[in-house]
Symmetry: C2
Subunit: 220 residues, 2 copies
DNA sequence: TCTTTGTATTACCGGTCGGTAACTTATCGA
DNA sequence: TCGATAAGTTACCGACCGGTAATACAAAGA
């Protein structure tokens, strides 16, 4: 009896050793790839036509599947949009954590955040944050999404405030100044074209200096 | 023969003198008032819930009438939205004409436009310009609306350019600078609340200085 | 007073969309 | 080889929405 069990276990171990979780993981990976493909197609159509005017049939058609197949990966159309928002916010947060990782003055951090957020606004998932009206979401999901937006906004305010404290930024109305900065950057999501004249980096560099021009203590 | 005609004319004239176009004009005025009421309710709901999620039944309900009655004043839902856009653009253009009326440096004019456009962004019809996605419009109507937006944008660029020419503004990338300025102001349409801390004028004054801070030649 | 005109109503239509049920097919593990 | 599971498909449903007759009704004009 134990012989049989051992043999099975050995066989399983050899298999696992050769390629751990092979079938299971491979399947999960495939699934994630497909899920990601749905999101990329969906966000692209949402930006192109608007959320309400994009039917799940269209999304499915572009993926060469049928609408009900989408429900293998998402519970509802709303969940698809929420995931798009989440991916955009994730991108933004990744940059923020990178900035927080090394010590710097508030001004340097603020400029870095401006540069990074400009780049986010050139991505589909980033543009989704400002171009798809979150009114289409249920109250619950909307609160969730807005919480994420507030979090990003908070870091703008934090960096500006700490810049005023460490003397790298002149005193100013934090709320209004951050609104002006984020507004200018959000607008990038509306006019940026990948085939346009400027790269994301050039826009970011220019904005980083221009939007902090009247705030910086030492003119560089 | 001429007696009859004269008598009719006299009667008509007396009537007209007492109250010209009385019945006709009064009716037209009533009609315009009602038409305006539809637009005000509609734009308010569009901002609150989004265009696609606002049904004409809801609009009608808030006006204590029924949906088909709306079709006495508008040919379609789209026409209602186009009118909302138009009213917003009209507000903006009125300010621009006021600015053009008196000669000034490019910097002064740019600042005046910033102040004015900030105020437009605190009005429903102004917010409509930036918060209702024009993807819901047919291609034709969309082009029409975008032409209006471009026109307003053009004056920002004109004022900035003439400021660089008359020496009141430092050399800069016109396109990018105007995008930054208009983006910051457009964002006001998203966060402004009539019951908030700041008045439209305060926001405008602050932005007028802050957004031109790094552009002005003479620091004021 | 009769007619016309404008404004509103009720009832209804066609079409679309999100979502579901039932069924088929392919793949993997035992 | 056989059964379970995942991933598709076709067919369909209920709800809603923009828009349109057909009609009622009040007020102004002749």
């Amino acid at each position: 009896m134990s012989g049989d069990a051992d043999k099975r276990a050995d066989a399983a171990e050899m298999k696992l050793a050769a390629s751990p979780w092979k079938p299971f993981e491979a399947r999960r990976r495939e699934r994630d790839v497909k899920r990601g493909a749905v999101l990329r197609v969906a966000v692209s159509l949402f930006l192109e036509q608007g959320y309400d005017r994009t039917s799940l049939n269209e999304v499915a058609e572009r993926l060469n599947i049928t609408k009900p197949a989408l429900y293998n990966y998402f519970r509802s159309k709303e969940e698809i949009l929420v995931e798009c928002y989440r991916l955009g916010q994730e991108k933004a947060m990744a940059g923020i954590e990178r900035i927080l990782a090394k010590p710097d003055t508030g001004l340097v951090r603020l400029r870095a955040l401006i540069r990074h957020y400009c780049e986010v606004m050139t991505l589909d998932f980033g543009q989704c944050l400002v171009r798809v009206d979150d009114h289409v979401l249920s109250a619950l999901a909307r609160d969730q999404v807005r919480e994420g937006k507030r979090l990003i906004d908070r870091y703008f305010r934090d960096f500006l405030t700490s810049g005023m404290e460490d003397g790298s930024i002149k005193p100013c109305d934090v709320r209004l100044t951050v609104f002006a900065i984020t507004g200018a950057i959000n607008w990038v999501g509306h006019w940026y074209r990948a085939d346009g004249e400027m790269t994301a980096r050039e826009i970011g560099d220019t904005y980083a200096m221009q939007l902090t021009g009247s705030l910086a203590v030492e003119e560089t």
